[in-house]
């Protein structure tokens, strides 16, 4: 039986995050010691490692919730898990494409900035006028509205 601190260091998940996962029902409520402290089994450790790894791969907590409920039921067909992973892959690919376009644009901005006063600064100029862009980088409608996500 691990304390929450040990579980945290052994999985690389911070203690408040573990409590948060319990709170939102991603982890079951932990057993408690006589003094009301959480105690974790090997199974809980595995489940948290799964969650952490999926987070690293960019899965949302909602997707992870689905994956966990699938893995709790090993006789189900695999198609649903596969679909979640494929959706995640598509998401990553589209993000890659957009980021690549942004990189091109930023490189152009930085390279072209030859003046030494703000009034001649390409960075400011390009940001003020989308028509100066070479790529068709994303608009707020298709890039900036979804739930914020890292990586």
């Amino acid at each position: 039986m691990l304390t929450i601190g040990k579980l945290g260091t052994s999985t690389g998940v911070k203690v408040p995050t573990i409590r948060y996962y319990e709170q939102i029902g991603l982890l079951p409520e932990a057993e408690r010691s006589a003094g009301n402290q959480r105690l974790y089994t090997h199974k809980a450790h595995e489940r948290l490692a799964f969650i952490r790894h999926a987070r690293e791969l960019g899965f949302s907590l909602e997707a992870i919730r689905d994956l966990l409920s699938l893995s709790d039921d090993p006789d189900q067909p695999c198609a649903a898990a596969d679909a979640i992973a494929k959706a995640q892959l598509a998401e990553v690919e589209s993000r890659l494409a957009r980021l690549t376009a942004l990189k091109t644009e930023l490189e152009r901005m930085v390279v072209q900035c030859a003046g030494d006063r703000i009034s001649d600064c390409r960075v400011i100029e390009v940001l003020g006028d989308h028509s100066l862009c070479v790529t068709n980088h994303p608009t707020m409608d298709d890039a900036g509205q979804g739930p914020a996500r890292d990586v």
Copy 2:
């Protein structure tokens, strides 16, 4: 003079977002009509277009705030604006590297999933065990902690 709705459609920024930008001081307080409705000048339109475009390129609101105060003062040297753009470029490049690693991993997961029961599912299996990964994809420590950002 534009109403907030016209300004929104002409810049591609949603109305509540414009009000939010005013609230946090990114846009100055708008003039009001007799009936207390916001009215915008061409200058405000330019400023919002600038913000929107910078957001598309992934700049944080804080960075945009800095860029705006620079552009308000055109005699200043350009170095600060250049530095912000370069930092943004570095950020985008590191994000690209991480996303590429994730893509590799996800592709492997999806391709290898040959079983048709969850119990044989590579997706679930790989997520449960980081050592099955071929790339050194990011950990939560270097990828998942910063301020959430899209694109």
